[in-house]
């Protein structure tokens, strides 16, 4: 049984804002010069009411001529927690039970799909969604699983998190069987709950990031029966380019084999990064079928997630 990623799409907030403008609005902690040195240049911000998740998923269904009735499961994920809901005092708490997954299932017409959410993994939720989708397909519970990631930073919240600048974005990924291309063949996720309190453990998280990331990538490549030299392409998330230069140095992988540079034009769209970069990389690079692609992302919580796909 072959399981593969049949389609990818993404959407960004329609308003583009440069680092200087963000700094003027008090939305950065570091200087624009420092962040530019780390590989950022601008971010995308959603206008009120922009339904990026629905747009990304609609694009995918339309452009790939997928009948909504083909979708057996919808997984909605994100790095940010859902918007907080307040219940007026004395009123029934039904508004606490409004879920994006259900709304999206209805808006997209996925009437045959079971819908559920995935989160509490920061940026790493995207790989967990892919892993769960693959499991559903392998188990025979589904033939087509649509994964939709949505992250929109609340208005007024600082856009910089530990030297990374956040964009609003959404992605959609259709995982299907049988499908011979972009086959996920190995996953490795390291969760270290000790770092659950991101604020209190900030310095330790910075220190833990590199050695654990290296281990996660080495492990997943080995789990795929490969060596690091076999990896044809590394698809990164859009945390600072400088961070990736260091990590690639730890791994001994030359920068030419990584699809770097997107952070400058995309910003860090939290869970959408890997889908964005995977889609762009496939379009830009001439990858032979079955070429091994390694993906990695880190999510607060803390989670280090890596996967190997065969192109």
């Amino acid at each position: 049984m072959t399981v593969g990623i049949r389609a990818l799409s993404y959407r960004f907030g329609s308003r583009m804002v440069g680092l200087e403008d963000l700094a003027e609005q008090g939305l950065l902690g570091s200087t624009p010069e420092t962040l530019r040195g780390f590989g950022f240049d601008r971010v995308h911000i959603a206008e009120p009411g922009e339904d990026l998740g629905c747009l990304a998923a609609s694009d995918l269904l339309r452009e790939h001529e997928v009948d909504p009735l083909e979708i057996d499961a919808l997984i909605v994920f994100g790095g940010l927690p859902p918007d907080p809901v307040s219940v007026p005092e004395g009123e029934e708490a039904t508004s606490l039970f409004h879920y994006p997954a259900g709304r999206l299932q209805h808006a997209l017409g996925l009437t045959r799909a079971t819908a559920f959410g995935m989160g509490q993994q920061g940026c790493a939720a995207v790989l967990s969604a892919l892993r769960v989708a693959r499991s559903l397909l392998i188990s025979g519970d589904a033939r087509n699983v649509l994964c939709v990631g949505i992250d929109i930073v609340p208005a007024g919240v600082r856009r910089e998190v530990i030297y990374n600048v956040l964009s609003d974005g959404a992605c959609a990924m259709l995982v299907s069987t049988p499908w011979p291309r972009l086959r996920p063949v190995a996953f490795r996720q390291i969760t270290k709950g000790y770092y659950w309190d991101t604020s209190a453990r900030r310095d330790e998280i910075i220190a833990a990031y590199f050695p654990t990331a290296r281990n996660a990538i080495r492990d997943v490549v080995a789990a795929a029966g490969l060596t690091l030299d076999d990896v044809a392409l590394v698809v990164p998330d859009n945390v600072s380019r400088r961070g990736w230069e260091i990590l690639l140095g730890l791994l001994g992988i030359p920068e030419e084999r990584a699809f770097l540079g997107a952070a400058a034009v995309r910003g860090h769209a939290i869970t959408a990064d890997l889908v964005v970069n995977l889609r762009d990389a496939i379009d830009a690079r001439d990858l032979a079928p079955e070429s091994p692609i390694a993906m990695f992302t880190f999510g607060f919580g803390a989670n280090w997630g890596a996967a190997v796909l065969r192109a």
Binding site: Y10, D21, H44, D59, E255, L260, V265
Partner: protein
């Protein structure tokens, strides 16, 4: 100067181009979109009557009463560019002129494109100019930045003109003071004349 442009002081039409013109307005204060619409529809139009909205896709539109016109808007360090055509979808991108680190070229330009943009004449900003063209084209397609940059292929780039691999879309790119501007028009083999006004 943009290729095949008209200015307020002179009028020069492109040869064999599609009918109509692209109105492009640049200014440092609000109101670029409104001024663009007035140039296309009616210079006497009351600016207060023009509303700029975004559709669910995030695409900006100008509305005057029941009439609607798709726009393209771009911001760069306090400056705004707005462009529109009465019959075609256009895209505009405005960037502050600056050198981009060379590794960005590897991200969104193929090796062939890296050679092709040499015609820009200024190696330090050629990558930026190419990026501006790609953004304008993606906007003209009505998709914005939700398609891969590599889906736009540049065959040649100079300040005299841009040649794209896709014959169904035309683009131009030029220096505008401290900025670089690119305009693209969907459904056109050559770029309509661009009337540039500055506020």
């Amino acid at each position: 100067m943009p290729p095949s442009t008209t200015s307020r002081s002179s009028s020069r039409r492109a040869e064999a181009g599609p009918p109509g013109r692209i109105a492009l307005h640049l200014r440092r204060s609000p109101g670029a979109a409104t001024e663009c619409v007035r140039r296309l529809w009616d210079p006497w139009l009351d600016p207060e009557a023009v509303r700029v909205e975004r559709d669910p896709d995030g695409v900006p539109w100008a509305r005057v009463g029941e009439r609607r016109l798709p726009l393209s808007i771009s911001h760069a360090d306090g400056h705004t560019a707005a462009a529109a055509h009465l019959e075609r979808r256009v895209g505009v991108d405005l960037e502050r002129l600056r050198p981009l680190p060379p590794e960005y070229a590897r991200y969104f330009l193929t090796l062939e494109e890296q050679s092709a943009v040499a015609g820009w004449g200024d190696p330090a900003t050629a990558t930026l100019a190419a990026w501006t063209v790609k953004e304008a084209v993606l906007k003209a397609r009505g998709r914005g930045l939700c398609d891969p940059p590599s889906s736009v292929r540049i065959r040649s780039l100079s300040q005299r003109g841009v040649e794209l691999a896709d014959p169904r879309i035309a683009a131009g790119c030029w220096r505008e003071g401290d900025h670089v501007v690119a305009v693209a028009c969907d459904g056109a083999a050559t770029l309509p004349s661009v009337e540039v006004t500055r506020g």
